[in-house]
């Protein structure tokens, strides 16, 4: 039981899809009777298998995070239909696929979403993320964190407020927020600052 738990933890902590696949195969082989195995496999396929080309490495969940950030920035004139796009994104993030597994399904999906969020945060360490002014100037560490905090705020609060999709996004929002706070010790403070800035703007 302990070994099973450790394997599960490693699986959700791992960011490399190839290594995760190995862990999933090991878990399925060692615990074929485990009720969670089909759920893991469903989420794995949904996230990493390209239906058009099985050889092509993809991360649908990671893409949806980037996509949702860009949806928040859609200009007013083109914002019609964005609610529908957000719901489609939630579908692509596995909400429909895990519905039949009940609470267990939501629990595993939450962990998978946190893993996807952590993978997104890891990309923020890349050189391209911190570029500004035509790619000539690079952000310092604090600016990077601020940019990331703004994106997390947009994902967790901004989108659902702007397009009134609180309910549809609840689990996703919680997963992204929780992961951000775990990954960055000053995460909560930075998110609060974002919130205050927006509230101040609204009052003004």
């Amino acid at each position: 039981m302990e070994e099973e738990e450790a394997l599960r933890e490693t699986y959700f902590a791992e960011l490399d899809p190839g290594r995760r696949k190995e862990l999933l195969e090991r878990f399925s082989r060692d615990h074929p009777q485990d009720a969670e195995v089909p759920l893991f496999q469903t989420l794995w396929s949904l996230r990493h298998v390209d239906p058009k080309n099985a050889e092509h490495p993809v991360d649908t969940f990671l893409w949806q995070i980037v996509n949702l950030i860009s949806l928040y920035r859609v200009p007013g004139f083109f914002s019609g239909g964005t609610e529908k796009e957000i719901r489609a994104a939630m579908d692509a993030l596995g909400f429909s696929a895990v519905a039949k597994y009940g609470d267990k399904g939501r629990e595993i999906l939450y962990l998978e979403l946190r893993n996807a969020a952590r993978r997104y945060f890891s990309t923020c360490e890349s050189k391209s993320y911190g570029k500004k002014l035509m790619g000539i100037v690079t952000m310092n560490e604090s600016e990077r964190r601020d940019k990331l905090a703004r994106e997390v705020w947009q994902l967790t609060e901004g989108l659902s407020r702007r397009f009134e999709t609180d309910e549809d996004m609840a689990l996703f929002r919680k997963a992204v927020r929780d992961e951000f706070i775990v990954q960055y010790p000053d995460g909560e403070e930075r998110l609060e600052r974002q919130e205050k800035r927006r509230t101040k703007k609204r009052i003004a």
Binding site: T60, L62, V66, R73, P75, F78, S128, Y129, M134
Partner: protein, 329 residues
Amino acid sequence: MNKFKNLPVVRAIGFNRVVLIGVILLMYLVFALLTPVLHSGATFLKYDRILSALNYAYFIGFLGLGVTFVIATGGIDFSIGPVMFTAALVSGYCLTQYHVPLWLCLILSIVIGVLFGIINGYFVAYRFLPSFITSLACMQIAKGVGSVFTKTQSVTWPTEGNENAWFHYLVRWGDVPVGFILLCLVAAICAVVLNKTKAGRYILCIGSNKEAVRLSGVNTKKWEMLAYIICGLLAGVAAIFYVGAYTTVQPGLGDTFNNEAIAACVMGGTSMAGGLASMLGTVIGALIIALMQEGILAMGFTISYQYVITGIIVLIAVTADTLSRKRKN
């Protein structure tokens, strides 16, 4: 103010764009008041002045729309002005010296723009060269190609009333500013491409977080290169509108228009960091620059003053963009 910001029209257009429209009206008013004072006998309140300002806005607008795609990816293209001139020079030379049919010359102009877009895009997306270095190199190449091809001679396209001059109707049909209608149409198409298509979404997302898009399985090289190709294509289109308005093109020039197109773009709300772009803003920015150019000339100042003011506008726009991003964060 909050009530005004929440008006449906303001929300649809965007508050910043509404402010810019206000700036255009204010500038028009200031020029209308100052022109007779500074340049006795002159007036700014003439329809011809508006048409003349629009002539300038067309090609700056097309260049700006193109470079908006590139800036949205987090890159830059400093070669658009010279590429526009080279496209106009080479195709104009083919028209006047080799008697190539006009329609083919117009297509050639666009093809030349696309070729430079491919060169820029290839080196930025596939060879990972910084966009400002690649585009500066392309700028030199474009200037050189234009000069070599025309043997450093200026090229004059057929003037209105001559045979083979129907391309002028793309800019102006009598007193109707056809070019403005076409610019708005192309801007609308660009806005739809950027905001409602897969290509546009990828371009914006690359500007926001390229590494995440790459790890998602998206071919970032292909989509980044596409942005440069669209930019080149629109530089080719801008060349057609330039000759439609001004007829004569000189080799070795064009780089001053880079700044103006980029200024129009940034003024309109496109972020220099990438990931955020506004086509409507770019068109409004181009109109502001064109009106400013017309106003400076109307008041009796030389074109050199315009370079000074454009430079100042670029500095202000980029500083405002940087400060606004800092504040947002």
